[in-house]
């Protein structure tokens, strides 16, 4: 965290000295720069809200897709497999466009950019979450199921109290990865007009015409956001591990 700010400050100071840069556009000590920074940062809440909603949904859907994939029933396994293969074959950007422009033609309902974005991101990510959950659940030894069944637990309680808590500890780093990925992919929703970080930067570039500084600022915004998420995931990992010590 602290390192990130030092890096950012360093970059500003170093590059600001050479004549090619125009950091004034995002210099918060001048009134116009301050307004620009505020404008850029106003996308932050949408980026966060969009990613957080999408990831929450995709984790739940991913689990619901993974479970039948582990069943002894062939039909269920096939259905789960098909979902994963189909959904993860579609590029996210294509999915965003398809959901926003294409889907309303089928359903007859127009959806807002936010929910279109959430839907596309969550759908796309759920296939990956399903694979992560499947691997995590499969990594739990058979003896754990047998012990749970032997004390008369049913399937649901076995998953809920015995298997998933252990699986989730193991897949936490992979889920952390997906959260980071999702934060970055949320930038694609800018193409349908979602007012998130990337969209704001694009709009500012059009009026200020300082793409180098503005996009660098955008890069740093994502960097900081993602460093915070990484730290959070690591904290969670540590906390869950000490549980077992």
């Amino acid at each position: 965290m602290r390192k990130a700010f030092i890096l950012a400050a360093l970059a500003l100071v170093l590059t600001g000295c050479s004549g090619n840069w125009g950091w004034y556009v995002v210099n918060p000590t001048t009134p116009s720069g301050y307004n620009n920074v505020r404008f850029l940062l106003s996308g932050l809440q949408y980026t966060i809200l969009l990613s957080a909603t999408a990831i929450s949904i995709s984790i739940v859907v991913g689990l619901l897709v993974a479970l039948p994939g582990l069943s002894s029933n062939r039909g269920l396994r096939w259905a789960s497999r098909t979902y994963v293969e189909l959904v993860r074959a579609v590029p996210i950007l294509v999915l965003v466009l398809w959901v926003y422009y294409g889907l309303p033609q089928i359903t007859g309902l127009t959806i807002g950019v936010f929910w279109a974005g959430v839907f596309a991101l969550a759908l796309s990510d759920s296939a990956f979450q399903a694979e992560i959950f499947r691997a995590g659940i499969q990594s739990i030894a058979r003896g754990q199921y047998e012990a749970a069944y032997s004390i008369s637990l049913n399937y649901r309680d076995t998953m809920r109290y015995v298997i998933l808590p252990q699986a989730i500890r193991r897949i936490l780093p992979a889920i952390g990865n997906q959260i980071v990925y999702m934060l970055k992919m949320s930038s694609l929703v800018s193409v349908i007009g979602m007012q998130e970080l990337t969209r704001k930067a694009n709009e500012l570039v059009v009026t200020e015409y300082r793409p180098l500084e503005i996009y660098t600022f955008l890069v740093l915004e994502y960097l900081v956001l993602i460093l915070i998420v990484s730290a959070g995931v690591r904290w969670l990992e540590r906390r869950m591990r000490t549980d077992e010590r």
Binding site: A147, S150, E244
Partner: protein, 254 residues
């Protein structure tokens, strides 16, 4: 009017009638018939791969069977979840590898069954958990995690976890095989004590000292069949079959 599971006094608590089981082409159980009375303590032994684990795992439905009939505690054990769960409530199982839940404390390991399968509230479950932790003589380990315990202590926790379901039958599948020699006795001690309480016990083990001391009967299995069944004295002094004699010679002479 109350409807109870029909257990007549003379009905065996475990009954196998001509049970067959294969893994693919490989026949593991070849027409097993056996009958165990309530309160009986039976030790099963035999060479590796003879089907001992498969047999004992059939009793609480961890393994399905292909043909024949199994009755446990007056209940017909089918391949449906309902009958399996019903039987599992009456027959506890202790595994070679302990299979404790590593993410739960000892106390939570013990409370899970009573709370989730027996519908007890937290206080009642904790009371019963502490009672059986006392019984296996490690009450002071209640708040530790399994990995903080020695193998012998872990296995005793596993025994206590099964006892918390208050089953009438306890099944043991080589409970001391994964233990360092110096920890074997503390586990056998707990099991012998349990045997003194009238619990029906079925134990796969090669601890012949334990078998001699505790068992009412010893069953010898080979190639998916029960070759011989006898009380310990006769089993050790006058085994009838050649296969059994060979086996005894191998394990007693090393």
């Amino acid at each position: 009017m109350r409807i109870e599971a029909a257990v007549r006094d003379d009905e065996p608590i475990i009954l196998f009638d001509n049970v067959f089981k294969s893994f693919g082409d490989f026949q593991v159980l070849k027409g097993i018939s056996l009958s165990i009375a309530a309160g009986e303590r039976v030790v099963i032994c035999g060479p590796s791969g003879s089907g001992k684990s498969t047999l004992i795992r059939c009793i609480n439905g961890l393994e399905s069977y292909d043909a024949g009939h199994i009755r446990v505690a007056g209940l017909a054990l089918g391949t449906d979840d309902a009958s399996r769960r019903a039987v599992r409530g009456k027959a506890g199982m202790v595994f070679q590898q302990f299979n404790l839940f590593p993410h739960l404390t000892v106390l939570e390991n013990l409370m899970l069954g009573p709370m989730r399968a027996r519908g007890m509230n937290r206080a009642a479950a904790e009371e019963i958990a502490r009672r059986y932790l006392d019984r296996v003589r490690i009450p002071e380990q209640a708040d530790k995690y399994p990995r903080q315990l020695s193998g012998g202590q872990q296995q005793r926790v596993a025994i206590a976890r099964s006892l918390c379901m208050e089953p009438g039958i306890m099944l043991f599948d080589e409970p001391t095989s994964a233990l360092d020699p110096e920890m074997i006795n503390e586990v056998l001690e707990v099991m012998a004590e349990l045997a003194g309480t009238g619990m029906t016990m079925l134990c796969v083990t090669h601890e012949m000292g334990f078998a001699r001391r505790v068992a009412d009967r010893i069953m010898f299995m080979d190639h998916g069949e029960i070759v011989e069944t006898a009380p310990p004295e006769r089993f050790f002094s006058a085994p009838e079959s050649q296969r059994c004699r060979d086996f005894l010679q191998k394990i007693l002479n090393h």
